[in-house]
């Protein structure tokens, strides 16, 4: 059925090219039926891409090794779930997933906004241009439907990808990456149609938030995958592929904040266009980084069929975007100005500058080794200290601003009002700092600052809810639970945002606890059965080794008893898996989650000698690390609150834009 897959992709390519050409012509010459036809082409493109995706999924499920892609990424012994996950395990499948998500999002966004026809008329060609690039790549550069005589068995899947997190992590990232195309397309559509009112922002508010949430959750899933699967004891290594997802997320975070200033004050119109474009371009750049091979070496990049095309597309989109924003500058003039440097909008502006500075320093860290290798032939690397320095420099003030922002009023705030609202958070911060120093935990300056600032932010969030609930009670005479509920329901974006801030707070506390205050014991000597080692109050006693056969691997596991204060707390089983098809070994870590300090005892079987039963055990004790994963749930909760539809608001917006739609012939 590879022919059907190829035919479906060719149909998609034809449709998006038509949507690009006919859509542009229709929007330019104001042709109604042609514009509708171009929209239909985008809807149909989703259908044909879906057919291609189903063909590939069926081939993966059936292990049809006549498909080169299936033979290269699966094997007969690979469990079905992982075989299906090979859809995004390789380059061609990933590109198909990009196109599938993009065409699905495009169809949905165009259909949902079909009444705003004058705006959508220009959105269609922008979406079609991006989809056209990916369809072209899949049809003519990197197809998943190449066939060859079937080998006896497939090459299998890299062992580290054989993890349940890999079923969810890449699709989440792609939902995020691709989702950023929608606000970008509407932003460009607004510029092209000269409709620079807030309609494009209103139309894409939830799209941006959803894409940003997917990207955030995708990164957390990836961090957890690295933590439990890679076996080095960490969750984020400032790897270029990880940074590839972080950069657009930071740009989108800045956009989500600055767009509020445009909505509330009519300011920062140019900046918002720049941010939405930056987030989109970084999402394409992220795909380029992960898919071109450029991360491994510049040679792999030059040999890759994708690299040049991606670079060309990024350059084209950058030039077009910059030119369009420049041409439309007169339409983007702000009607108001910043009244005070001590105001809510000013804190949003500082937050934006810090987020973009952090994003660009990470971008430079990713680009520098590539540029030095390409231009000078030198191999340089940018490692953890560089990123840590900028994370502390920009991240800590950002954390503090998260607490300051909600306490400051819009437009301007007097010192008297500030003194009143800052008092409790400041006290909380000072008490926390003094307590930490008193407890002997002041050794790490970043750790101390993180916790002190976190106390400030936590107090400001609690105060916001407390004062807001009391104000609601005073206005409506409601009970506390009722006042609290209606407070959140009446302003979901604001209070959902505070819940997201709480998630970031948990994340910061978890990261600081597990990095600044972690304890590590490297395996200097091997342990024999019965021998013990001590670390951070825990005693780990090695009991012996066992080997068992799993579905697609041979598993060797050590038995390690963990006790604290003489009492047994758990038994861990770190070990290694041997994958015969892939001819690879993987580390299989074993973790004890300690509810006392919300931390982990993380064990890695560094080396195993089955003959002598010797185990070289590496152990890390990471306090508070589980807060990072808890943060993920809180993050999703906050995002859902912020995204939840508000009927009153929707009626108001419908009333605002309905007359324009009517006079536009809808």
């Amino acid at each position: 059925m590879a022919e059907l897959g190829r035919a479906a992709l060719l149909v998609t390519f034809g449709l998006v090219v038509y949507a690009l050409v006919a859509g542009s012509l229709a929007a330019w010459r104001r042709r109604r039926r042609l514009a509708l036809s171009a929209q239909n082409a985008l809807l149909a493109a989703f259908g044909s891409t879906l057919v291609a995706a189903v063909v590939l999924l069926v081939a993966l499920a059936r292990r049809d090794f006549t498909f080169q892609y299936v033979a290269q990424h699966t094997s007969r012994s690979l469990p079905l779930g992982y075989a299906l996950s090979a859809f995004w395990g390789g380059q061609e499948g990933s590109l198909l997933l990009w196109l599938l998500v993009l065409s699905g999002y495009s169809a949905l966004a165009v259909w949902l906004n079909r009444r705003a026809r004058d705006l959508v008329a220009w959105v269609v060609p922008v979406l079609a241009l991006v989809a056209g690039f990916f369809a072209f790549m899949l049809c003519f550069v990197s197809s998943p439907f190449v066939v060859a005589p079937a080998p006896g068995d497939g090459a299998g899947m890299v062992p580290s990808l054989q993890n349940p997190y890999m079923l969810a992590h890449p699709p989440m990232l792609y939902l995020g990456y691709v989702g950023l195309t929608i606000p970008f397309a509407f932003g460009m559509g607004a510029l092209l149609s000269r409709q620079t009112d807030e309609r494009w922002i209103v139309a894409t508010r939830r799209w941006t938030l959803a894409a940003w949430t997917f990207l955030g959750v995708g990164q957390l899933l990836g961090a957890h995958w690295a933590y439990v699967e890679i076996g080095w004891g960490g969750y984020y290594a400032w790897d270029p592929v990880e940074n590839a997802a972080l950069m657009p997320w930071l740009a989108a975070t800045a956009f989500l904040h600055s767009v509020m200033i445009q909505e509330k004050r009519g300011m920062l119109k140019v900046w918002n266009m720049v941010l939405v474009s930056l987030a989109f371009l970084l999402s394409i750049f992220g795909t380029f980084l992960t898919r071109s091979g450029v991360v491994n070496s510049i040679h792999a990049f030059s040999e890759s069929p994708l690299g040049g095309w991606f670079l060309g597309f990024i350059a084209l989109m950058t030039v077009l975007t910059v030119a369009l924003i420049y041409i439309r500058l007169p339409l983007l003039k702000a009607r108001t100005k910043l009244e005070s440097l001590v105001s809510r909008e000013a804190t949003f502006l500082y937050n934006n500058l810090l987020l973009v500075a952090l994003c660009l320093t990470i971008l430079w860290g990713v680009m520098y080794p590539l540029l030095t290798q390409a231009l000078r032939g030198e191999t340089r690397s940018v490692s953890k200290p560089y990123y840590d320095f900028f994370l502390h420099t920009f991240g800590l003030p950002l954390l503090l601003l998260m607490g300051i922002g909600p306490l400051v009023a819009w437009r301007r705030a007097s010192l008297r009002a500030l003194g009143k609202t800052f008092l409790v958070p400041l006290l909380a911060a000072v008490v926390t700092g003094v307590a930490l120093i008193g407890a002997g935990l002041g050794g790490s300056t970043p750790g101390l600052l993180t916790y002190t600032f976190s106390a400030f932010v936590a107090a400001s969030i609690v105060l916001e809810f407390w004062r807001g609930t009391n104000a609601r009670r005073a206005i409506a005479g409601e009970s506390y639970p009722r006042a609290f509920t209606s407070l959140v329901a009446r302003n979901r974006r604001r209070y959902g945002g505070y819940v997201v801030h709480a998630a970031v707070l948990l994340l910061a506390i978890g990261i600081a606890g597990s990095s600044a205050y972690q304890t590590v014991r490297e395996p200097v000597h091997g342990l024999r059965p019965g021998q013990s080692m001590e670390i951070a109050g825990y005693t780990l006693t090695y009991r012996g080794l066992a080997t068992r056969q799993e579905e697609n691997a041979q598993a060797t596991r050590a038995t390690v008893d963990v006790s604290r204060g003489g009492s047994h707390v758990t038994t861990l089983h770190p070990g290694k898996n041997w994958y015969p098809v892939e001819q690879q070994t993987s580390n299989e870590v074993s973790i004890y989650h300690d509810p006392r300090n919300l931390g982990d005892v993380f064990t890695i079987a560094d080396q195993i000698d089955p003959k002598s039963q010797t185990l070289f055990l590496k152990v890390l004790v990471k306090p508070l690390v589980n807060l990072i994963w808890v943060a993920g749930f809180v993050f999703v909760l906050g995002s859902v609150i912020a995204m939840w539809p508000d009927a009153v608001e929707q009626r108001r917006l419908a009333e605002r834009y309905a007359p324009a739609a009517v006079s536009a012939g809808l």
């Binding site: 059925m1 590879a2 022919e3 059907l4 035919a7 479906a8 060719l10 149909v11 034809g14 449709l15 038509y18 104001r30 042709r31 109604r32 039926r33 036809s37 239909n40 082409a41 809807l43 149909a44 259908g47 044909s48 057919v51 026809r117 004058d118 008329a121 149609s193 409709q195 009112d197 807030e198 909505e263 509330k264 004050r265 009519g266 009607r335 108001t336 009244e339 400051v408 009023a409 819009w410 437009r411 301007r412 705030a413 007097s414 008297r416 009002a417 009143k420 609202t421 004062r467 807001g468 009391n470 104000a471 005073a474 605002r656 834009y657 007359p659 324009a660 006079s663 536009a664 012939g665």
Partner: protein, 110 residues
Amino acid sequence: MTLALVLGAVLAVLAVLLVARPFLREPAPADDRLAEPGELDRRRLELVEERDRALAALKELEFDHRTGKVSDDDYRALVGPLRRAAAEALRALEPRAQARVPEPTTRIGG
């Protein structure tokens, strides 16, 4: 192979039909122009956005004043211009004012 090609051809035909649908439904329409908002609509929308912005700002100011985030002095200084901005936008949106296509002069918050 043949089945796959037939399915591919069916897919292509369906796509073409969907793309051609607007022309098949209206072979000779009275008006095929993709209308766009005129200058009056744009002005109206601008004013509506300014009105909504001013009203939302007033609501927020009241709430922030109640929660103690805005002092009495700040409240007194801010509430006047915001009320004036909202009133100006509302006045400009009245049907007779709209007919004159007013130049929006409102500067929210001064």
